[in-house]
């Protein structure tokens, strides 16, 4: 394993410390228990927005803490949900009296730990709402199953819910908007090469020299199928067709298109995918009115990418365009 780290068990802590030092004008890092809040402190009367989950997906979520987006991020160990206590403390830290919304990617660990934290917060009198993000169409819905994973769509939910909270919307409204966005975004990813989790010391899975995993998760969990690596056009087709058909996106509708790198893919390749995705949507009469391309929801140094499509409306567009000032997303977004 080759990594620029001091010790596999200290990566998350060391990294958070660097993050806090580098961006002290914008964020404050609480080292124990570990969470990140805005440097400006809590905004009285504003609904607090907390997200979190396993580390290894940077800049998610810490890179999105700041005016117009999250109030706090709670990073767990690498690829492992944080326990309830730091979530609870972050929730306390950002409660400005208007309650706190938890934005949770749908993984058993995240769900259970946030659930426990929310119970404790409620017991202390902090009003909380939970919003599940489950945008990954690689998996089928089915009653009683763990269900779809939360992947790159999380970023869009955080941005738009953040704008609503910043605009002074109440707890239920912010939660409702977040849920609405979560319901209007779908994603699917592909992996070309596995990441290596520091404490595991070797790649999370093995892929043949010409194999790719379609429908990969952001922890290297497998997806729909392994196929031969095709052209960018072929891969894009495999990713985006299930996305738009699951969304039931039709001719004439407006959409936001997000091409997200998994960490180890050159930016140039993401733009190649973007061009292909754009062509495909154009041909179907779907109007891409907003775009985002970059490494936002990553899986360490995994080589691969995901494509997300969010059905837009006037309200969502307005909230998307609202000012945001975080380390990794800054307006104007265009």
């Amino acid at each position: 394993m080759k990594k620029l780290i001091n010790d596999p068990r200290r990566v998350v802590a060391d990294s958070a410390r660097g993050f806090g030092l580098a961006h002290s004008g914008l964020v404050r890092v609480n080292e124990d228990p570990l969470y990140i809040v805005r440097a400006a402190g809590v905004t009285p009367g504003k609904v607090g927005l907390v997200s979190g989950g396993g580390s290894g997906h940077e800049p998610l979520h810490a890179g999105f803490v700041g005016p117009g987006m999250l109030d706090a991020a709670v990073p767990g160990a690498m690829f492992s949900s944080p326990p309830p206590m730091p979530i609870l403390e972050a929730t306390r830290a950002v409660d400005g009296g208007a309650g706190v919304v938890h934005l949770i990617k749908n993984y058993t660990g995240d769900v259970l730990n946030f659930e426990a934290a929310a119970e404790l917060a409620e017991a202390e009198g902090i009003d909380t709402r939970s919003v599940l993000i489950a945008d990954d169409v690689a998996l089928e819905h089915a009653a009683g199953m763990t269900g779809r994973r939360g992947v790159a769509g999380a970023l869009l939910v955080e941005k738009i819910a953040g704008a609503a909270a910043e605009a002074g919307e109440g707890l239920d409204t912010v939660a409702r908007i977040a849920r609405y966005v979560a319901g209007q975004v779908r994603s699917m990813g592909v992996a070309l090469r596995a990441p290596t989790v520091p404490h595991a010391g070797r790649p999370s899975f093995d892929l043949g020299e010409d194999e790719v995993e379609i429908g990969i998760g952001i922890h290297g969990e497998p997806g729909r199928e392994r196929v031969r690596l095709g052209t960018a056009a072929e891969i894009t087709q495999r990713l985006i067709v299930p996305v738009i058909s699951d969304l039931n996106l039709r001719n004439g509708e407006e959409a936001l298109l997000l091409v997200n790198g998994m960490g180890g893919t050159p930016l140039s390749e993401l733009y190649v995918l973007y061009a292909e995705a754009r062509d495909l949507l154009d041909r179907r009469g779907i109007r891409v009115i907003r775009s985002l391309v970059g490494n936002f929801v990553t899986s360490l140094e995994m080589q691969g990418a995901s494509i997300s499509v969010l059905r837009m409306s006037e309200t969502l567009t307005r909230l998307w365009d609202a000012p945001v000032d975080t380390v990794s997303l800054r307006s104007p977004l265009r």
Partner: protein
Amino acid sequence: MSEQRLTAVWVQDWMERAHAVFAAERVALIELDRAIGDGDHGENMDRGMTAVAKRLAADAETSQETPTPAALLKTVATTVMANVGGAAGPLFGTAFLRAAKATDSVSAPDGELDGHAVATALEAALGGLQSRGKAEVGEKTMVDAWAPAAQAAREAAEAGGDATAVLAAAAHAAEEGADATVPMIATKGRASYLGPRSAGYRDPGAVSTVLLLRTATEAALE
């Protein structure tokens, strides 16, 4: 009818053994989780049990009076909850918490545990983790080890087994339960993402359950 009762020393001994076993099995559990999950289960459990051992040792140093098993189990629960993370943290944490609560009400006046109390604790643990995780038997999770373990424990207790015998029966049943997860297709937890491809592997959480119950038995044998 046995007179054997489990004390706080048993919990301490159990947790030291568990600490050692999870350190030793760390990589094996990572490999199991790597096959059908995200490869962190061994790391999570090792981190958690290290914290537990440290916490119990520190408490033992400072506290004057002997604690009850239930009090120690509650410390284990909160330490597991706070340090394991992932799915396993709140699940095992809740299991220990419910076990602590249950033993509090069924144990002898001095807090020590007989076979019946152990069976009750295991049933409560199962109930706790099912109320959190919503998994039924057959979904390829730790429930597939805990459920037969709790049932075997109750049967052993009914048959008059002492605490050690009850734990041994539970550990044995858990082992069979863990093995039985191999052909299953997961419908809960991270392995469910694999669908049919999840078949062919033992569930890591079920294996950790076996390790917990086995070390509990060994500690009781002392």
